[in-house]
């Protein structure tokens, strides 16, 4: 039976390096994805994710299972992401208006054009939807963004998310409501059911058949 996060972390505290490797394998991808969706930069996201694991490792001697491991880990990640975005805003203020700002498209790979047109179209649609969603999430205020990512993609409980964001559960639920309300409007083309128009068959003369 797989060890729990707490058991693994206590083993890391006792000096078991393999347990740390297991924690790394377990949370490497979720952490990178959470941070990427926060900062929209793959290189920064990986750097921040490594910093999270580095801090977890360095704090192993003082570790006490007073909270869930994911709460602790995502609190570190959220704070690092917020600090990174704050620093990034300060740097961007110094960039001249003529320079192109980061639009988050650094991870777009060149589209390979296969022979079959429908695959290209499907890929384009998929990328377009993903970019729309990412852009809408990134447009949210930082705390709402973190709340949505932790709720929707990391599936943390409300008390966990509230602990990460250092707010009450009721404040968190209001935060989530406002965030999803904004996304509902921004992503209306993806959300609102399309209006179906019943086509009336006509004859060649143009009159209804």
């Amino acid at each position: 039976m797989a060890r729990t996060d707490v058991q693994l972390m206590l083993d890391v505290k006792a000096g078991d390096e393999e347990s740390f490797a297991l924690l790394l394998r377990r949370y490497r991808a979720p952490l990178v994805n959470f941070l990427y969706r926060m900062v929209r930069d793959t290189a920064v996201a990986e750097d921040l994710a490594q910093e999270v694991f580095l801090r977890v490792y360095r704090a192993r001697q003082e570790y006490a299972p007073s909270a869930k491991f994911t709460t602790w880990m995502f609190r570190i990640a959220t704070n690092l992401a917020l600090n990174s975005m704050r620093d990034s805003r300060h740097r961007k203020m110094e960039i001249s208006m003529d320079q192109t700002t980061d639009t988050g498209e650094d991870d777009q790979r060149p589209l390979e054009v296969p022979d079959r047109a429908p695959s290209v179209e499907q890929e384009l649609v998929r990328r377009c939807r993903a970019e729309m969603i990412l852009k809408a999430i990134h447009a949210l205020p930082e705390k709402q963004r973190a709340a949505v990512l932790l709720h929707k993609y990391q599936e943390l409980d409300y008390d966990e998310i509230a602990s990460v964001l250092e707010c009450s559960e009721s404040a968190l639920k209001s935060l989530l409501f406002r965030a999803y309300e904004t996304l509902r409007v921004e992503l209306a083309p993806l959300v609102t059911p399309t209006v179906r128009v019943d086509r009336v068959p006509v004859s060649r003369s143009g009159r209804p058949a």
Binding site: R28, R37, R58, Y153, Y158, S174, R184, L190, V191, P193
Partner: protein, 194 residues
């Protein structure tokens, strides 16, 4: 009678008040998540039966969550683990007594400062052996011109053998010296020495 938005609202009659809608907001997410308490679930369901706009909102929230699933995941780079281990190795966690040691640069700076302090404290102070300055410390006036003149003879004055007149005066060999000059000339010589 007011009707809700959309065709569904007209089927259920009167629109709920904004205050009732606001009261449901904080409960709606938990309700859609399936995590609402029984009392909350009942309150939301009762409200949704009478409020078309909230009913539409709940429907679109579900559609939104489904759309958000379309966001693809990214994979960490192949070098992620190796890079992390390099960072861990570059900054090992201090253990035991070594955690109290400062960084090398700080340690060097502290050692240099201590050495400088020791050297400065070992340099003999001129003030302690300079009679004129000692007198000034006792409260007497010490004009700047007198200090500068005194400093000119400082090298000679600081020689302990010349100050120790008792030793010189008791030196037996001096008795074999020729008769000293007259009192007036010896007085002038004495004043010159001072």
């Amino acid at each position: 009678m007011k009707y809700g938005e959309g065709s569904e609202g007209t089927m259920f009659g009167k629109e709920s008040s904004p205050k009732q809608c606001a009261a449901i907001e904080s409960k709606l997410i938990a309700y859609l998540d399936g995590r609402a308490r029984p009392g909350e679930r009942h309150a939301v369901e009762e409200h949704l039966t009478s409020c078309g706009s909230c009913r539409l909102r709940a429907k679109e929230f579900r559609a939104l969550w489904s759309a958000l699933d379309d966001l693809p995941s990214i994979s960490p780079s192949p070098a992620f683990d190796a890079s992390l281990r390099a960072r861990i190795a570059a900054r090992p966690v201090p253990q035991g007594f070594s955690q109290w040691l400062p960084s090398p640069r700080l340690a060097f700076a502290l050692v240099a400062l201590v050495a400088l302090s020791v050297w400065l404290s070992s340099v003999p102070s001129r003030d302690a052996t300079n009679p004129s300055v000692a007198a000034s410390h006792a409260g007497q006036v010490n004009p700047a011109s007198q200090v500068s003149a005194e400093s000119d003879f400082g090298m000679i004055r600081d020689l302990a053998v010349l100050e120790n007149y008792d030793v010189v005066s008791k030196f037996d060999a001096l008795s074999e010296l020729p008769v000293p000059p007259t009192a007036s000339s010896s007085e002038a010589t004495k004043q010159t020495r001072e």
